[in-house]
Amino acid sequence: MSVAWVQDLGAIALGFVSDLGRFGGFTAHLARVTFAPPLRLRAFVDEVYKLGVLSIIIITVCGLAVGMVLGLQGYNTLARFGATNSLGAVVGLSLIRELGPVLTALLATGRAGSATAAEIGTMVATEQLDGLRMMSVDPVHYVVMPRTYAMIVVMPLLSAMFIVMGLFGGYLVGAGLMGVDGGAYLSSIESSIDFYDDVLGSLLKALVFGVLVGLIATYRGYTSAPTSAGVSASTTSTVVVGSVTILLVDYVITALWGV
């Protein structure tokens, strides 16, 4: 019987742990250089544009769609109990607590995260990062820092937009299509959602996801192999690792926050 697979498993596990270690080193390096001058405000603003403004369409459209689906599904379920006036609460709670931050983060990983990884990976492949090093410029400070912090800032903003569009979508379906009273929908939302229990947790999740996606995307790009296959692999890896991490961390936060 061959036990080669045991060795392979061990190698994978070790590889995973050492990759995690390198990721930790990368994060520590970023933290260390964060407060060193210059501030790179212009680069930061450019990144907010690339990661945030360019994601508006996908976020608002998906938010609207998800809200509409929630409105429809929620209505069908509540109608059985004659409780359709609580549709607002159902749509609102689902969006604010879970779907808003999580779906926004997943969409952002796919669009903005992969774009960032590809961009940085290409810079590795064309020796631009080495060029920076030879000019005594730290590539982490120059390239990684603005992008990571832009992602952190952008995520809660996008998440809030997603949620608001979702609430609107639920309103369109519930009040516009299914005949739920518009006023009841809105007041149901307002009475069932508490800032401290729900909204704050939602924003916190979005912030944490922003940190994670920002770090993962830039790390993958930064450590990409300097070939086109390498860039492609790091882009894919960003989406896969980022998505899985978001969902796992979502569980942890949900459990800890008591939401």
Binding site: P37, E127, D130, R133, M135, S136, V137
Partner: protein, 235 residues
């Protein structure tokens, strides 16, 4: 020096003369570019010392290297210009990052280097809009903008037609003569090497040979002569 398990070279010792044009020659895979990267501190050796103007870069941390690199300039094979910045911003970047000069002083330095490499009116262009030869010139301008002591040049003639090759060759020699920068050029082109080099380091499969061009061309060792004579087409 090894990458992973594949040794690139072992037991290598060589030195480069100050203020002269030295060319590192060798076939592909001989490790010429690796040598340049070792000197620049972009990769670390598995053993040994690398002395750059007296400092051992092999033993330095990244932060210490940043200081040493002030004395170095590197011209990359593909230019390695930041493709999202204009030519002006690319050249100004190292000066701006250093933070010692005013914008007006930086403008002077940038335009001076642009002229020195034989270009004109390229400030607002993006790297993607430049021809191959122009990219090399801009890369050279950026490499010398901090007035380095040593210039590392990686395959300056790759991808260029014979006329452009001659032009870049003339330019490099010109820069060396005017400023006395020590130049280390990695190349595979023998004819231009024979013309421009004051000193040649030849990386052969199992050893390295160094010396003046003429001495090597008439060397007693057959593989040396063969390498230098093999592409002795146009002298």
């Amino acid at each position: 020096m090894a990458f992973g398990r594949r040794p690139v070279f072992q037991d290598l010792s060589c030195r480069f003369p100050r203020s002269r044009v030295s060319v590192i020659l060798g076939g592909s895979g001989s490790g010429k570019s690796t040598m340049l990267r070792l000197i620049g501190g972009l990769v670390g050796p598995t053993g040994g010392r690398i002395l750059v103007d007296g400092d051992d870069v092999a033993a330095m941390s990244e932060r210490e290297l940043f200081q040493v690199r002030r004395k170095l300039g590197m011209m990359f094979q593909g230019g390695a210009l930041l493709d999202s910045l204009s030519v002006y911003d690319n050249l100004a970047l190292p000066l701006r990052e250093q933070g010692e000069l005013s914008e007006a002083e930086i403008a002077d330095e940038v335009h001076d280097r642009i002229r020195a490499v034989g270009l004109d009116d390229v400030d607002a262009l993006l790297p993607g809009q430049l021809s191959g030869g122009m990219v090399k010139r801009v890369a050279l301008a950026r490499a010398i903008i901090r007035r380095p002591v040593i210039l590392l040049v990686d395959e300056p003639f790759s991808g260029l037609d014979p006329i452009s090759t001659r032009r870049i060759e003339t330019l490099l020699v010109d820069v060396n003569r005017r400023s006395g920068i020590t130049m280390l050029i990695v190349s595979h082109d023998v004819p231009s090497t024979m013309r421009m080099a004051d000193w040649i380091t030849l990386l052969l499969p199992h050893r390295a040979v160094e010396g003046e061009p003429h001495a090597l061309a008439t060397s007693g060792e057959s593989d040396v002569r063969e390498f230098l004579g093999a592409t002795q087409g146009a002298a």
